[in-house]
């Protein structure tokens, strides 16, 4: 594996019986890049992200993260990665602060750092004042903030974020976006999956478009425009064209009938 790459997927396939969720994909992501995976529902984005963390085992191919084989050294990989799933179920019987304390202890964050980081993040994401409440009283947005903080707590080298800005208020979403930029400058790599194309366009260095388990296109915004032959278009038009779902007018007309 190339030392400058944080992620290397080689000929990776994931099947669930007859369903091919991910079909023979190759992907490398260099250090410090913010990479977005886009695609319609069921295109294989979340499965790919989970394979990076060993949460789903590939049927074929190899997955290396931070120079480690995920299947052989899962604990070592997880130690250096921050992960936010699409719908994070958290321990609702804990308070926010207890949850973050639990996460910090799991990652072995020293007490002094733990205290500093937790307090900083609680303040930045405006959870201050609610950290002593049980999580079952939190809104979806607050739970998302908690999951994001828990992903940042261990100062990871790689962030894997599945729909990270869902349910966040505009201020918190902005903070997270700025944070990702700052972390990039510190050499932290981020892989995110999103349906919000504006976010991918604004935040990411490269974008991969997945459809039916395949990576249809991969590159920067300019490279994607070229590939789609849409030189001045936005990501939405490129996405719809590449995934073959572009002509939506008849669908809307049918609904209005």
């Amino acid at each position: 594996m190339d030392a400058s790459n944080v992620v290397e997927l080689k000929a990776v396939t994931k099947r669930y019986d007859e369903l091919v969720a991910v079909n023979n994909i190759d992907l490398t992501i260099p250090t410090g890049e913010i990479f977005a995976l886009l695609g319609p529902n069921g295109s294989g984005k979340s499965t790919t992200l989970k394979m990076l963390l060993g949460l789903v085992q590939p049927t074929a191919g190899s997955v290396h993260v931070l120079g480690l084989d995920v299947q052989k050294e899962p604990v070592a990989v997880k130690q250096q990665v921050g992960y936010v799933p699409e719908s994070p179920s958290v321990y609702e019987f804990l308070t926010g602060i207890e949850y973050l304390d639990f996460i910090a202890d799991i990652y072995g964050v020293p007490p002094a750092e733990k205290q500093q980081r937790i307090n900083e993040y609680l303040k930045a994401l405006q959870l201050e004042g609610r950290e002593g409440d049980m999580i079952n009283s939190y809104s979806d947005g607050m739970k998302k903030k908690l999951s994001l903080i828990s992903a940042f707590l261990n100062k990871p080298k790689l962030l894997i974020l599945d729909e990270p800005l869902n349910a966040l208020d505009p201020r918190s979403a902005r903070i997270v976006k700025d944070l990702l930029h700052q972390l990039k400058l510190q050499g932290v790599t981020t892989i995110l999956s999103t349906h919000v194309l504006e976010i991918a366009e604004a935040v990411c260095d490269r974008i991969g478009i997945m459809y039916q388990g395949n990576i249809l296109a991969l590159g920067s915004m300019n490279e994607l425009r070229e590939k789609a032959s849409l030189p001045s278009s936005g990501l939405e038009d490129i996405f719809l064209k590449l995934t073959g779902t572009g002509d939506l007018k008849p669908v809307v007309e049918e609904l209005l009938r």
Partner: protein, 563 residues
């Protein structure tokens, strides 16, 4: 009142109840005959009971030696009179049991307040749906028995009237449960609001106290049924001013021809039922949509990490974190708090039995058996139940374990330590109660505590390994934690292991039993050193073997996360 709304709401409640009991969630098609099987079965048992009662009564009353008995009609009516109160008690007990069953359910049928349904309809549907299941089945069974018996003995009018009042009593019972349910939600909310961190402990201790009281009442009824029935007759006439016995009193006055008093109590009963229903409606209007406020456990302000003792005991920070999280889980989650009642029940049963037997002069063999139950059963069952549940209780948040740098060793060590901690505490408490209550010789106390320990370790290890294999992380409609077939397997495996560990004691105890010399005095003279040592070795071997199996299972669980 829109009766269509009421019927629709009852149907929803009934179906959600079936889901909670584990009927498959997809493609559910109701077979009406099978769906209502408890009622058919109750009716059949009732008919058979009525025929049996008639046969016994015929036999007794045809015997010339029994001429001192009161007339059959008087005896039968005396029994009919207490039936409404009996149904009322069963209705309250079983409808509360259903509420307890619902309490841990994630998907509850919340009030759809945005739909055009009134609180009167909502409350009536809730009361009637509460009645469905065991309360109605019992009423049907009793009614069938009474009607058959009465039909054969010319008392059909009395049986019909009794049936009507049994239904009224069942409705009373269910209304009472509805009122208590709403008050409990509001009261709990008030406690949370005012008590801060203490609220969690109030809930924990309050839930356990409720369970203890509930089971003491339940066991008193079921274990001394004859005494209970006799006591009920006296209770009804002595406490006539309590509205709950008015249906029974009405029957008394009607059957004995005091029609004026009968009419008065019919009116009073109807008024009381109406008052209960209206109170439930009013409470629902006031608190039906009440959301208990968020439980604030810690005050706000700057967070400061605390150092616990777990680190000093040799646990890594990850292991200590998992143990702390599980302690919070088992003391805060209502569906898990119930687990702590298991050892209490297994102490209450032998103690209550002992009290009854001791009054009649108990043989020491029986006391010894109860002593063994108190010493060994509670802590072992605690270890088994915790082992079964500790993996599955992670629920949908199990992704956190998969996604975190937690090794199989971390996971097994923390979970095993947790179950040992609670099982040993249980042993210490129940063993002390057994010692104080039965006052056995010192060597038996020592053997009791040691064998309790020797059971906890292997039983916990076996149950944990089955908990890994049979873990069920689904939380809807209710957190299941372990698949039922695996929990039965766990019970069988733990029972076998326990038998093996206790087997070294069988020869000496069997010898004493055969010579009818199984007393505390004779046990005090026996040296149990060798059986204890053999037992310890068997226990250690089983524990180590299954601990290794646990490590492999944990590795497999984390590797094959597949979330």
């Amino acid at each position: 009142m829109n009766w269509k709304n009421v019927l629709a709401l009852i149907r929803v409640e009934r179906k959600s109840g079936r889901l909670i009991r584990g009927v498959k969630k997809t493609r559910y098609k109701e077979n009406r005959f099978l769906a209502y099987w408890p009622y058919w079965v109750a009716a059949i048992i009732g008919v058979l009971g009525g025929l049996g009662a008639n046969a016994i009564a015929s036999e007794v009353y045809s015997s010339p030696s029994e001429i001192s008995l009161p007339p059959l009609e008087t005896s039968a009516l005396g029994f009919f009179i207490i039936m409404p109160t009996l149904v009322l008690i069963f209705s309250i007990v079983f409808s509360m049991l259903q509420q307890i069953q619902m309490s841990g359910v994630k998907v509850t049928s919340r009030v759809n307040y945005w739909l055009p349904i009134t609180w009167q309809e909502q409350t009536l549907a809730s009361i009637l749906a509460n009645l469905m299941g065991l309360p109605v089945a019992l009423t049907i069974g009793f009614a069938a028995g009474l009607l058959v018996f009465a039909g054969l003995n010319g008392l059909i009018f009395a049986a019909l009237v009794t049936t009507v009042f049994m239904l009224a009593a069942a409705f009373m019972g269910s209304s009472t449960t509805e009122i208590l349910r709403i008050i409990q939600v509001r009261f709990t909310g008030a406690v949370y609001k005012s008590s801060g961190r203490a609220a969690v402990w109030v809930r924990f201790i309050g839930s356990i106290t409720f369970f203890i009281v509930f089971y003491v009442v339940y066991l008193s009824i079921t274990q001394g049924f004859t005494n209970f029935i006799q006591g009920l007759t006296t209770f009804q006439s002595s406490f006539w001013f309590i509205p709950f016995v008015w249906p029974g009193l009405t029957l008394f006055y009607v059957f004995y021809g005091m029609l004026l008093e009968g009419a008065l109590f019919i009116a009073l009963t109807a008024a009381f039922i109406a008052a209960l229903y209206l109170s439930a409606v009013k409470l629902n209007e006031r608190f039906g949509l009440y959301e208990p406020p968020a439980i604030r456990i810690q005050a706000g302000g700057t967070y400061t990490p605390k150092t616990g003792i777990l680190g000093k005991l040799g646990f890594t920070s990850a292991e200590a974190a998992i143990i702390r999280k599980d302690i919070r889980s088992f003391t805060r989650r209502r569906e898990l708090i119930g687990l702590f009642i298991v050892p209490v029940v297994f102490v209450i049963i032998p103690l209550m039995q002992s009290i009854g037997i001791t009054n009649q002069g108990a043989p020491q063999e029986v006391s010894l058996m109860f002593l063994a139950m108190v010493f060994l059963l509670s802590s072992s069952i605690m270890a088994m139940s915790l082992g079964n549940m500790l993996i599955g209780e992670e629920g949908e948040a199990v992704w956190r374990i998969y996604a975190s740098p937690i090794s199989p060793k971390n996971l097994v060590k923390s979970k095993f330590a947790f179950l040992l901690f609670f099982a040993i505490i249980t042993l210490l408490i129940t063993g002390t109660i057994g010692t104080l209550f039965y006052n056995p010789p010192v060597n038996i106390i020592a053997v009791g505590f040691l064998q309790g320990l020797f059971l906890i370790f292997p039983v916990g290890s076996i149950a944990l390994s089955i908990g890994f294999k049979g873990a069920d992380f689904s939380v809807t409609p209710r957190p299941r934690m372990i698949r039922p077939s695996w929990s039965y397997l766990s019970l069988g495996a733990c029972a076998l292991a326990a038998l093996g560990i206790l087997s070294p004691f069988i020869p000496s105890l069997l010898g004493m039993m055969l010579s009818s010399n199984l007393t505390f005095e004779s046990l005090a003279a026996i040296d149990f050193t060798i059986p204890v040592i053999i037992s310890a070795v068997i226990s250690a071997v089983i524990t180590v073997v299954f601990y290794r199996i646990n490590l492999n299972s944990a590795e497999e669980l984390i590797r094959k996360a597949e979330i």
